[in-house]
């Protein structure tokens, strides 16, 4: 089967559009469409995986803007295949779950469309090799994530959470773009694989790498940017399960995994990445223990696990990268299952607060089993995939003799085991002290059954892959050779660490009340007052205040002053360039023909007259006359296109002036203040003199030899046109033209907005 990934990406785009525009009553068809796309991707992945695990790399290229080396270059390797199978596999579960969970919501199709669009962007991100393509897909995931977090846009909380997420990750995206550009410049290639193959060194590369790291850290919610992820739980639960646990937050890890083989020896890599990862792991685990909302508990758990992966990538050795990718796979499976379980609990019990929930496990034993399987994988209990992968990480750390990081990771993992237990106990246990049920409408049992399917399958995948880790191992090994993933490692140190971690976790759960008290005491202390979320709020407020101040100074509202500033800049900026370039304006030599002299007179006379008149309208008409005469000069010199355009521009401009002038006083103000008129005269003479000097200077600087326009003229027949001006506009320099009409369109929007102030189009009825 020879289906390119580009075809698959187009299928995602097409499906997203179809689903987005489908009427609400076609819910079943839209769910089927979304599922079909994901199933198709899974089949494609299986087809590709065979050769990719043997180390083959498939490359697809679609040129985009070759002159800027911007392209869609897809590089389908083991890492890409791993991500694509997670994205489509978990995505399939999410689509199925969403169908049962929120099909009755009014804007379900919009939600589904965003999910599909996000999945496509994420697949593109995981396979792209061109740094600019990477940035484009990266931002696409940011935008779709923003729309999904703010899906319940009638709630102020959702909107501000979405804004926080998009500002944080958007800022990181900009840093990433800057970093990638620097790295690409330093390496001399825009290909990620090329950059990694011969990693640049030096100050530019270090700055570039740091910026790229900032991008990765914001996306993967690493400290100190971790605060946006718990906020993003405002998204509908299926979206949280997909974006904020299984896929999008892994994009940062993906980038780290892609960069690690080239940059793990860079001086900043290991210290920065490992310490950020460890700090995040501890903060996340600590906060997760304190949560009473199941979804927030999982969110902080995700922060912690992402820190775990980051730290592993930070060490950068193949064994560590191997372990990191393995942990990433198991985390995607159990965390999405857990999130979906919370969604099911929420719809049956009407709450996800641990203090209110009681007895859900007895009512829905299958759901409790699902939660148990997934939570046990999170805790690292054998024989689940979570155990196998965590074991691999411990073994790698022991082999590398990283004792201090091992201790921190083990402690955090104990906390992970504790909050896994707390999750399951809080969600399903029958608790005597809590009221029987917290109210809300329990969903009918039938709905619950359909809700359980997706999380149960995802959780079971953790069991199957844990019992037969060879499948995961082959994929991960193709990315980075490390110790084999096995279910039973034998009596080794890593097993002792795993066992200790689980036992400690159980003890922590039993002693949870004293831990709660200890945390309470700490929360009252000074250290915990430093909150990243507050720092964010403070920054936003300060930014707005500074922006207000600057606007107050710069946008003072005096039109003559604006004009003066603009015109002065027009003179001053090129003057500097002239100063560097040197050269003296030379007067053109040679006799002037009579028509030339006549036209010159026609240009100068109305301009001088415009100085003397007092009526604004007359002045405008005189300036129009100057324009018409200029058009005459263009005709004389054989530029009919220019002349035609200028004539029409002058005509339309005079008409527009007439409209504006009807709202202004008929006559110019009488200048009483002499200094002001002197300043205006100086600016005017300066601009006029400058333009004249520039023209003379330019005409004196003609290089002998073929002019660039000659090259265009030779190429014009090939472009299929005889009018060289038009061929340049619509073909050779069409990108410029596209930019210009964008400016025109923006101006049109600006005019409409400024004058009618975004009035609703009721005006038609006038």
């Amino acid at each position: 089967m020879n289906v390119s990934l580009l075809t698959i990406l187009s299928a995602y785009l097409a499906a997203a559009i179809l689903i987005g525009v489908a009427p609400t009553r076609f819910r079943r068809s839209t769910i089927a469409t979304a599922a079909a796309v994901m199933v198709g991707t899974l089949v494609w992945v299986l087809d590709q995986a065979g050769s990719v695990v043997n180390g083959d790399v498939h490359i697809e290229t679609l040129r985009w803007i070759p002159s800027l080396s911007v392209a869609f270059e897809l590089r389908i390797d083991a890492l890409a295949i791993t991500f694509i199978s997670l994205i489509s596999g978990v995505g399939l579960g999410i689509v199925a779950f969403s169908g049962a969970y929120m099909r009755t919501k009014p804007r379900f199709n919009r939600f589904l469309s965003l999910i599909v669009m996000f999945a496509g962007a994420m697949i593109g991100l995981s396979a792209t090799d061109n740094v600019f393509g990477l940035f484009v897909f990266w931002e696409l995931t940011t935008i779709t994530s923003y729309l999904l977090v703010g899906f319940d846009d009638e709630k102020a909380g959702s909107r501000s959470a979405a804004l926080q997420a998009v500002l944080t990750t958007g800022l990181g995206g900009l840093a990433l773009l800057g970093g990638l550009v620097l790295l690409a410049q330093a390496a001399g290639t825009a290909s990620l694989a090329g950059i990694v193959a011969s990693p640049p060194t030096g100050i530019v590369a270090t700055v570039g790498l740091s910026l790229a790291l900032v991008g990765a850290f914001t996306k993967s919610a690493q400290a100190p940017f971790h605060f946006w992820l718990p906020g993003a739980m405002a998204a509908p639960t299926p979206a949280s399960a997909y974006l904020h646990s299984a896929t999008m937050v892994k994009a940062g890890i993906l980038l780290l995994l892609r960069l690690a083989p080239g940059f793990n020896t860079a001086s900043i890599w290991t210290p920065v990445v490992v310490s950020v990862g460890l700090a995040t792991m501890v903060i996340g685990a600590w906060r997760a223990l304190r949560q009473t909302d199941l979804k927030l508990l999982l969110a902080y758990g995700t922060v912690s696990q992402l820190g775990f992966m980051t730290a592993l990538v930070g060490f950068g050795s193949p064994a560590m990268l191997h372990a990191a990718l393995a942990v990433l796979i198991s985390h995607a499976l159990f965390k999405s299952a857990l999130f979906l379980t919370v969604g099911a609990i929420d719809s049956t019990a009407g709450t996800r607060d641990i203090r209110k929930l009681s007895g859900v496990g007895l009512q829905h034993p299958l759901l409790a089993l699902t939660g148990a399987l997934a939570a046990a994988s999170m805790a690292g209990i054998a024989p689940l995939l979570g155990f196998v992968t965590k074991e691999a990480a411990f073994a790698a750390l022991i082999d590398a003799q990283k004792w201090a990081p091992l201790a921190i990771i083990a402690a955090s993992s104990a906390a992970t085991a504790a909050y896994s237990l707390k999750f399951w106990w809080g969600a399903f246990a029958t608790k005597p002290q809590s009221p029987e049920h917290a109210g809300g409408d329990p969903a009918p049992l039938r709905t619950i059954r359909t809700l359980i399917a997706a999380p149960l399958i995802l959780a079971s995948a953790g069991v199957v892959l844990g019992l037969a880790p060879g499948i995961v191992d082959r994929l991960v090994y193709a990315f980075a050779p490390g110790a084999k993933l096995v279910l039973w490692p034998g009596w080794k140190a890593a097993l002792a660490v795993s066992a200790t971690v689980v036992v400690l976790g159980v003890i922590m759960h039993i002693k949870r009340e004293s831990i709660d008290r200890a945390q309470q005491r700490f929360v009252g202390g000074r250290l915990s007052r430093i909150s990243a979320d507050e720092a964010y709020q403070w920054t936003i407020v300060a930014l707005n205040r500074v922006a207000d101040r600057i606007t107050g100074v710069v946008q003072h509202g005096s039109l003559p002053l604006y004009l003066a500033v603009i015109l002065t800049a027009v003179i001053a900026a090129p003057m500097v360039a002239f100063g560097f370039a040197g050269g003296v304006p030379t007067l053109p030599t040679g006799p002037f023909s009579l028509p030339e002299a006549g036209m010159a007179l026609l240009v100068v006379a109305p301009a001088l007259a415009a100085l003397r008149v007092s009526s604004r309208m007359v002045a405008v008409l005189l300036l129009g006359a100057v324009g018409y005469a200029m058009a005459g000069i263009f005709v004389l010199y054989g530029a009919p296109d220019l002349a035609l355009t200028l004539l029409l521009v002058e005509t339309v401009v005079i008409a527009i002036f007439a409209f504006v002038l009807s709202r202004l006083p008929r006559h110019f103000e009488i200048m009483v203040w002499r200094i002001r008129s002197a300043v205006r005269a100086a600016v005017a003479v300066g601009v006029g003199g400058f333009v004249a000097a520039a023209a003379l200077l330019a005409s004196g600087q003609r290089n002998p030899g073929p002019s660039p326009s000659a090259a265009y003229r030779d190429l014009a027949p090939a472009a299929g046109g005889k009018n060289i001006v038009n061929v340049i506009l619509t073909d050779f320099r069409a990108l410029d033209t596209l930019g210009e009409i964008t400016v025109i369109a923006t101006a049109a929007i600006g005019v409409a907005a400024l004058i009618s102030g975004f009035r609703t189009p009721v005006e038609e009825a006038e």
Binding site: L648, T651, G721, K722, N723, T730, L738
Partner: protein, 145 residues
């Protein structure tokens, strides 16, 4: 701005305006080989709208246009960007130009390059801008209404 209705202007515009429109389309089509193009054509069509405004007022302009001015601008952008993207799909890169040649019976060979379609987008954006300015600036003033 108040426009006084005048029989002379109205009758005159009725003959002049269609002519200007046809010339503007002519300029658009021949642009690739002779003086003209989307920008100039669009401006000329804008000038035609101006004549309509002066003789018949704002509502006359609105009824003449098939779309709301801002939709014209949007449509123009969409046309140009679509044509540019076609180069990505069928050609080798964004904005790569293509050409179709049709051999019509009796008419002879007609060729239309993608650059003409691109210019159609430019034309629409420029007409849309002039129309927007006319509709907005020509709005009766609040105090007067």
């Amino acid at each position: 701005m108040n426009v006084r209705q005048s029989l002379l202007a109205e009758t005159g515009s009725r003959t002049v305006v269609p002519t200007i429109f046809i010339v503007s389309l002519f300029l658009l089509v021949v642009g690739h080989d002779a003086p003209g193009g989307g920008f100039v054509g669009g401006l000329l069509a804008g000038a035609a709208l101006l004549v309509v405004f002066l003789s018949g007022g704002r509502n006359e302009v609105r009824t003449l246009l098939p779309l709301h001015p801002r939709s014209l601008v949007g449509l123009g952008m969409a046309v140009s960007i679509t044509v540019a993207s076609l180069g990505l799909v069928f050609g080798s890169s964004f904005l790569d130009a293509g050409k179709i040649t049709l051999d019509l019976w009796l008419v002879g060979e007609i060729s239309a390059g993608s650059s003409l379609l691109f210019d159609v987008g430019v034309y629409l954006v420029v007409v849309g801008l002039v129309a927007t300015v006319l509709m907005e600036l020509g709005r009766p003033e609040e105090s007067a209404s």
